[in-house]
Structures are given as structure tokens and as C-alpha cells.
């Protein structure tokens, strides 16, 4: 049942505007794959090309080894969950779930059995005879999911399915989605602009910007080893700092503008004196109360106590600001105006070429 989705050199144009210039992608059978990016990056466009609602101006789309470019949406055997759920308001929950099954012309008993099965799976059996407008957002979402899954599609497509829910329900529903997907093992393509949501549900994520895939990888890889500055800033928070490369024999290090030097073991092909951008996540900065042998120097501007962690905003000696996250200590919070000395966790930080396009670490 699970199929592999293969996209080769996809092109999408709206008149003269090219939304997706040239995109290739492979999604493994049973994988939970997420398209993540800011609004307008082409993620929904790509999803709708897979679903058949957008025309395809170039390239080939395969489900398994079946070419689907010219296949009508109704014949692609996909389950789709929409941002606004798109539940039929004139049909009861049961009829909504049975809608796709009826189109398959299955025997009556089978339709009935499957409808009940999937309503039970999504825990909506008790609302079976209600009209959708009587349901809450979360319940409607469950109906939409049950309806999409009931036809036992080869591919499940979800277009920002949680964006209309409130924060708490969103967290609850993403767990539900992940569990169901795990249980059924259905190849899933999920679109979201919420990176935390993407990290929580996905096996792999494709980060997109301006119609181009910036990086494909597991949530861990994307966070810890982003391929470029865009991914580094889009996934999680980070401090970008300018620095220079110093190569002395076999030893490579980066030098910040105040002279603070950090020895690096994982730099790739760099040259002495090369300008770079260093991406240091807030938790990769360590606050020291007294000067070590070389460190960044700054003054605490303000702090925010958030329970588990405390956030500090520090103005560095060169005038830029840096964000730091520290596990909250039992001692007092560092007072505003205090001078602090910052060091970085060398094995964790990322270094990019000065145009931000390419990562220089392994």
C-alpha cells in the first residue's frame, strides 16, 4: 500500500511568475515528510501539484512507478486534509466519512464497516449523526482526518491542518496525527510554516524558500547542522556573528572581531583570512562572570525568567546584540548592566561562507 513519491525537475508557473523553478524530491514509502517554509515559499503549491489541483508546467511526478502528471485528482487515490478542514457542512459526520467510500462503489456492508472503523479510530463515533457545524475545531479536524483516511489512500496530504486550532489543541492534535500515521504507515506529505510542529511530527523535513529546497534532513540535522544561513535562522533562534578564519598549519580556528579565538575541529575547505558568518544558538553561548583566556565581552541589557530557562539579551562590545539561554539557577538572576564574558561551545556552532549560502562545517 505504501508508495514512494518521486518528483523530478518540477516547474510551476503562474503566468510570467515562476513559483517553483526546478525541484526534485524523493519521499520514501511510509515516511512522514514535511514541507516547511515561510509563507509564499511554494510549499502549498507543491503539495497541490502532488494532489492534482495545480497544473504542472514541467517535470514528472510519480507515485511508485505510476506517472500521475495527467491523472485527475479523483483518480490519484490520495487522502487530503485541508487548512479549513473542508468538511461538507450539509452532511452528517458519518456521511462525511462515508463520502469517499461511496465513490469507490464498495458493497454497502463494507462502507458501513469502514466508516465505523475510522470514526472509532479518530474517536468521533459519538458525534456520528451530528452536522459538522455543531462540532468544535478539534472535532472537525478529526472528521477531516477520518474522511481522508477511510478511503485507505496511498498517500496522505495535509495542508497546514492545525493552523486554525488554538495552541493547546494544536499540540494535542499533532500527537494524534503522528500516532495514527505511525500505526497506518501511510506515506504522508505535510505542509506547515510552524517549525516546532514540523520537528514534532516529521521523519524528514524539506525546508523551502522562494520555490527552492534549501535542505532536506531529519529534525535533528536541520537544527544542529543547517546547510545554510536561511535554514539556521528559520529553524530555531540563532545569533549571527561575523568572524575570520585563521589557518596555522593543521590547526584551523575562527577569530571574532574582538580577537576571541575558537579552535575548530570540523571545518572543511577554508582559507586563512576568509570572512565567515558564525551561527551561535542562544544555548551555545556560555556566560562566565570573569574574563577567561579570550572571550566575547558584553553587558546584560535585560533578562527574562521563563521557569526552566532564563533568557538574557547582551550587548556585545561591537554594539551588536546576542541572545543567550541558560538553565535557570537557584542563584540570583544576573543584574542588568553587569559585564559578562561569553564563550561558545565549539562543537555545536555552525560556520557559513560570508554570503550565508554554504556551510563550512562537517
Amino acid at each position: 500500500m505504501d508508495v514512494k513519491i518521486t518528483i523530478n525537475n518540477a516547474v510551476k508557473k503562474y503566468g510570467d511568475f515562476t513559483a517553483i523553478p526546478d525541484l526534485s524530491l524523493e519521499i520514501q514509502p511510509g515516511e512522514f515528510f514535511t514541507l516547511l517554509g515561510p509563507s509564499g515559499c511554494g510549499k502549498t503549491t507543491l503539495l497541490r501539484m502532488i494532489a492534482g489541483f495545480n497544473s504542472i508546467e514541467g517535470g514528472t511526478f510519480y507515485f511508485g512507478d505510476r506517472l500521475i502528471n495527467d491523472l485527475d485528482p479523483s483518480k490519484r487515490n490520495i487522502g487530503m486534509v485541508f487548512q479549513n478542514y473542508a468538511i461538507f457542512p450539509h452532511l452528517t459526520v458519518r456521511k462525511n466519512v462515508a463520502f469517499g467510500l461511496k465513490n469507490k462503489k464498495l458493497p454497502k456492508e463494507e462502507i458501513k464497516a469502514k466508516t465505523e472503523e475510522f470514526m472509532a479510530l479518530m474517536k468521533i463515533s459519538e458525534y456520528a449523526d451530528r452536522l459538522p457545524e455543531k462540532l468544535s475545531g478539534g472535532q472537525q479536524q478529526r472528521v477531516a482526518l477520518a474522511r481522508a483516511l477511510a478511503i485507505e489512500p496511498e498517500v496522505l496530504l495535509m495542508d497546514e491542518p492545525l493552523s486554525n486550532l488554538d495552541a493547546k489543541l494544536r499540540v494535542e492534535m499533532r500527537t494524534v496525527i503522528k500516532e495514527i500515521q505511525n500505526r497506518l504507515g501511510i506515506t504522508t506529505v505535510y505542509v506547515t510554516h510552524d517549525q516546532e510542529e514540523a520537528m514534532a511530527v516529521s521523519d524528514r523535513i524539506a525546508v523551502m524558500n522562494l520555490g527552492v529546497i534549501q535542505q532536506i534532513g531529519s529534525p535533528k540535522t536541520l537544527y544542529q547542522r543547517p546547510a545554510n544561513q536561511f535554514v539556521a535562522t528559520f529553524i530555531g533562534r540563532t545569533n549571527l556573528m561575523e568572524a575570520q578564519i585563521k589557518v596555522e598549519g593543521k590547526e584551523k580556528s575562527i577569530v571574532f572581531d574582538n580577537g576571541y579565538t575558537v579552535k575548530m575541529k570540523n571545518l572543511t575547505d577554508v582559507t586563512d583570512g576568509q570572512k565567515v558568518v558564525v551561527s551561535v544558538r542562544p544555548e551555545e553561548l556560555v556566560i562566565n562572570s570573569k574574563s577567561e583566556t579570550g572571550s566575547l565581552v558584553g553587558k546584560v541589557l535585560y533578562s527574562t525568567f521563563l521557569g526552566l530557562n532564563t533568557h538574557y539579551v547582551v550587548e556585545l562590545s561591537n554594539g551588536t546584540r546576542a541572545e543567550i539561554i541558560q538553565e535557570s539557577l537557584i542563584d540570583d538572576i544576573i543584574e542588568n548592566g553587569t559585564e559578562v564574558y561569553l564563550t561558545v561551545k565549539a562543537e555545536k556552532i555552525n560556520v557559513f561562507t560570508d554570503d550565508g549560502e554554504k556551510s563550512l562545517v562537517r
Binding site: 497544473s55 479523483s74 487522502g79 485541508f82 473542508a86 465513490n103
Partner: protein, 552 residues
């Protein structure tokens, strides 16, 4: 996908609709244009009909007359309708729903019936005229001519303005008025500087509608004009008049009429485009309770206006129960059902014709309007954009012109439709369809596209999606719209007048003929039957429509 057009349900629908438009609208109109440039005797190409129209004051004057009528009607209707809409939406009025029903009802009959009633009331031998003469010795100013036409049309058309503008005022958010009050703009100043500009798109739409109806109406000038001729009257006379008809000349006037209304249509579109914005109130305006004196005037104005507008219809109902001489020409003292007996005994098929022909037209209109609105909203492409444009053409074509074009096009061996019920059905469809499309487009725009996509992704074909999902979701709005269409169809006159035959005479045509034959009792009884149909339809409408919102 772009390279090979796929022949799915909607592509076929596009082609069918386009074909229908070409055959039943474009082709007949081209026939008119062709006839307008042919010599009536030799058949040679000529512009003499146009020259005749513009060079002879008798004809040319009808054009300026029509303009005067249309522009003045427009102005008066706005002056009556906009304040009414304002009072209706901003202040508490007793019997709001009833008031609205009455306003709508007063607009729902053919203008010529109103003209006929007013002649009976204020004409030379009218009831009120006589009463004033005997009681006070006062002679009421002459109702015939320009003033009469204006009176009849304004009272008939201000409800249109009311409905359009009231719809827009409902969508004004309370906070907008509060914000303006906060900045020191309130009262009359606020009405002119905030409320009117906010309603401008609807006011323009209403103005166009009133203008088009007024300029295309020929029943009223015929009935009450007495020498004040407008060009639809000339078209009609030149076509079916008793003496000296000239079909080619009539066609030429029709072409001129279309060109002129087209100009107005385009000007209105341009103004609307410049003024277009959309409003949707989150918090509706709370209707204030006016001070006692103010409240009195508000009630006086709204109910007074409606009473005046309804007076003609009521008077005809009264007359219909009056005793007449046996041939129905002269009213005698006392009451009797004889007019109705005559109508039901001798003209039963007229009622059946009305139901049959209008019903057929209604079904076709709804089916086509659903298809066309779906095509233009959901499947935008060059073909459907063409259909969209074509669907608006009937806006600018006076009913009499539609009638003539039908006769010209289908008076031949291949499609001999003249004299059949089919030709009347087609004419009604052509005339009414733009309005129905407009309302179904509005309904369809409210349904998110993803609903259709959901159905498709669940394996439903395009046709099945339409039947199982889209139409059921549109149903309420469609049904309400259908009732309104029904009312306009049964009160249609201008094209039916030219197209009816002995076998396909409808109620409104029968009223007109009865009036023309001076069988007043029967005319009144028939008019009352039409009014009864209208009232029943409106009651039904109120039952179905959720918010009483009316889309014309």
C-alpha cells in the same frame, strides 16, 4: 496539463453554454444589426434608417425623452430609497419585517399596471380627481405625460434602491460609525460623509438598475404618456403597430438603444471599479430608538411612502370586485365576482400558460446560472471569461429588443420558433439570467474552493461533486433567488408582448390586452391574480430565506 485540454464535465459545460449564448443571443442580435442597415424595400445596404432617426425631430425627441425619464426617475428613486434604507437600518421601526415585505411587494408588478391604476385614480375620470372636483372644486394637475411617467416609475423603482442600499448598510460595522462620532462627525454630516460613501458601490449598482429599467420600460409611456413618446414605444409601434410599420427602422432604433445603454453600463462599471471595496460587519449597527417626534416622522415617512407605492395595486384589487356591465367595460355600483368568473371561465389557459412558460424558464435559468457561475468563479480561463462577458450582455438590452431579435432569428425553416412557447421561454431566460448569475456567483464565492477539492480527492467526479456537494450547499440561497426570479418572470411584459401568440398568452399580456380593449373589470381581476401569485411567492420566500436578504 496545459498542452492537452481534457474533456471533463466542465469543459463540455463551457462549450454547451457558449453554444447556447451564440445561438440564442449573439445570433439574434447580429440579425438585428443586419436588419438595421438594410433597405426595407430593395434590401441594399444603407444607413438611411439611422439618418432618418437622427434627422427627424419626431424620432430623435423620443431619445431625449427617454433620457429625461430615466435620469429623473433615477434621481427621485435614489432620493426616496436611500433615506428609507438609512432610517430602516439605523432606527427602530415598528413592524420592520412587514414593512420590508410591503416595500418589496410594491416593486413586484409590471410598471404599466401601476400606470393603469394611477390613470384610474388621478386621470381625467379618475376616482381621486372626481372626488376633489365634487368635494372642493379643485382640479388636480394633469397626470398624463412626463409627470405621470415619472410618478409611476419612481414609485415602482425606489424599492430597488432600498433593497440594494439596505443590503450595504447592513454590512457597515458599528465601530466605523463610532469611530466617526469619536472624531466629531455625527448626524447629517455623518450620513453624507461616512454612510453614503460606504454604500456607494451599492448606490451605483442600484442607479444603473433603475436607469436600465426606466429607459427600457414601454408599458408606462404607452399607458400614461399621451404623446410623450419614448423610444421603446417607437420600437414597438414600428414593429407591431397597426399602420406603417417598418421593421428595418425598428431594428435601427434597437441598435441605437443598445449602444446608449451600453455606454451607461460601461460608465457605471468604471465608477464602481473606482469605488470598489468590500465590507463585512463584525458588529452590526444597533438600531436606535428615535425621540417620540422623530419616531413619528420616521414612521410617517416609511409607511406613507409604502402606502403610496401600494395604492395602485390595492385600488385595482378593489376594482376587480366591482360590478361591471356584461362585457366588462363599465363599472357599475355594487360588488360582484363577475370579473373573476369571466377570467377563470374564459382565460384559464392564460394562468396555466403563465405557470408553464415561466416555470420552464425558471428551471432553465437556475440550471444555467449554476453552471455559468461555477465556470466563472471556479474555472477561470479564456473560454469562461468570454462566457462571463456574454452573460452580462442582456443587462444592456431592453426587453423589446430581445423580443424583436428573437422574431428575426427564429422566423425561418430551420428553427421555426416564432409563436411557440419555446421562444418565450428563451427570451425570458436571456433577459433574466444575468441577475440570477449575479446572485449565484455571490453564493458560490462564499463556499471555499477546498470543499470541491476535498470531494475530488475523495474520488468524486466533477459532475458528482457539483450535484452532491456544491449544489446542496448553495441550495438555500439558490431557492430564495429562484423565487425572486419567478416573480420577475410572471411580471415580465416587454418581450412577451412581442412574442406571444394566441396559444401562449400569459397573465401579464392578458392584463395588457384587457386594458387595451377597455375591459377594465377583467384587467383588474387579472392584475389581482398576478398580485396574488406575487404575494404567495414572497411569503414562501420569507419562509426559506434565512435573513430576508434579497438579491435582485
Amino acid at each position: 496539463m496545459k498542452k492537452k485540454a481534457k474533456f471533463d464535465f466542465w469543459v463540455i459545460a463551457s462549450l454547451v453554454v457558449l453554444g447556447l449564448y451564440l445561438l440564442f443571443m449573439v445570433y439574434p442580435l447580429l440579425k438585428i444589426v443586419r436588419q438595421s442597415v438594410l433597405d426595407d424595400k430593395t434590401g441594399a445596404l444603407t444607413l438611411k434608417h439611422f439618418i432618418k432617426f437622427f434627422s427627424q425631430p419626431y424620432y430623435f425627441r423620443t431619445l431625449t425623452n427617454s433620457f429625461k425619464v430615466a435620469i429623473c426617475t433615477c434621481a427621485i428613486s435614489l432620493a426616496l430609497g436611500v433615506p428609507l434604507a438609512y432610517l430602516y437600518n439605523m432606527y427602530q421601526i415598528r413592524g420592520r419585517k412587514t414593512l420590508q415585505m410591503l416595500i418589496i411587494l410594491s416593486s413586484m408588478s409590471a410598471p404599466f399596471i401601476g400606470a393603469y391604476a394611477w390613470v384610474n385614480l388621478l386621470g381625467r375620470a379618475g376616482a381621486i380627481t372626481k372626488m376633489f372636483k365634487t368635494a372642493f372644486g379643485i382640479t388636480i394637475p394633469n397626470i398624463y405625460g412626463f409627470n405621470g411617467i415619472l410618478l409611476v416609475l419612481s414609485l415602482k423603482l425606489f424599492p430597488l434602491v432600498f433593497m440594494y442600499v439596505s443590503g450595504a448598510m447592513k454590512n457597515i460595522d458599528k465601530s466605523l460609525l463610532e469611530a466617526s462620532a469619536n472624531m466629531g462627525v455625527s448626524g447629517t454630516k455623518r450620513f453624507f460623509r461616512i454612510v453614503i460613501p460606504l454604500c456607494m458601490p451599492s448606490i451605483l449598482a442600484a442607479a444603473l438598475m433603475v436607469f436600465m429599467r426606466a429607459i427600457a420600460d414601454f408599458g408606462t409611456p404607452l399607458m400614461i404618456g399621451e404623446g410623450y413618446t419614448t423610444f421603446p414605444v417607437i420600437i414597438y409601434n414600428e414593429y407591431v403597430g397597426e399602420v406603417g410599420t417598418n421593421h428595418n427602422f425598428a431594428a435601427a432604433i434597437a441598435v441605437i438603444a443598445i449602444l446608449i445603454t451600453l455606454v451607461f453600463f460601461l460608465v457605471q462599471r468604471y465608477l464602481t471599479k473606482k469605488n470598489s471595496f468590500s465590507m463585512s460587519a463584525m458588529n452590526h449597527v444597533e438600531r436606535k430608538k428615535a425621540k417620540p417626534l422623530g419616531s413619528f416622522f420616521i414612521h410617517l415617512y416609511s409607511y406613507g411612502l409604502v402606502a403610496l407605492a401600494l395604492l395602485p395595486q390595492l385600488y385595482l384589487v378593489y376594482l376587480s370586485f366591482r360590478k361591471t356591465n356584461p362585457s366588462g367595460e363599465v363599472f357599475q355600483s355594487g360588488f360582484s365576482m363577475q370579473s373573476y368568473q369571466h377570467v377563470f371561465n374564459r382565460m384559464g389557459n392564460t394562468i396555466w400558460n403563465t405557470i408553464r412558460i415561466c416555470g420552464m424558464a425558471l428551471i432553465l435559468i437556475i440550471i444555467l446560472a449554476i453552471l455559468i457561475s461555477y465556470l466563472t468563479v471556479r474555472r477561470r480561463n479564456v473560454l469562461n471569461a468570454t462566457i462571463d462577458t456574454l452573460s452580462m450582455v442582456p443587462y444592456v438590452i431592453p426587453g423589446a429588443v430581445v423580443g424583436i431579435s428573437m422574431i428575426l432569428a427564429f422566423n425561418n425553416r430551420y428553427l421555426p420558433l416564432v409563436g411557440t412557447a419555446a421562444i418565450m421561454v428563451i427570451a425570458m431566460c436571456v433577459r433574466r439570467i444575468p441577475y440570477t448569475i449575479r446572485s449565484s456567483v455571490a453564493i458560490l464565492s462564499q463556499i471555499p474552493m477546498s470543499i470541491d477539492e476535498a470531494a475530488e480527492s475523495l474520488g468524486a467526479s466533477k459532475f458528482k461533486t457539483l450535484v452532491k456537494v456544491t449544489i446542496p450547499m448553495m441550495f438555500n440561497g439558490l431557492f430564495a433567488g429562484a423565487i425572486m426570479s419567478w416573480v420577475t418572470l410572471i411580471t415580465e411584459l416587454s418581450s412577451s408582448m412581442l412574442l406571444y401568440s394566441f396559444k401562449t398568452q400569459t397573465l401579464n399580456v392578458a392584463v395588457y390586452k384587457a386594458v387595451a380593449n377597455a375591459t377594465d373589470g377583467r384587467a383588474c381581476a387579472l392584475a389581482t391574480v398576478v398580485s396574488l401569485f406575487t404575494v404567495l411567492s414572497l411569503v414562501l420566500f420569507n419562509k426559506v430565506s434565512k435573513d430576508g436578504e434579497i438579491m435582485m
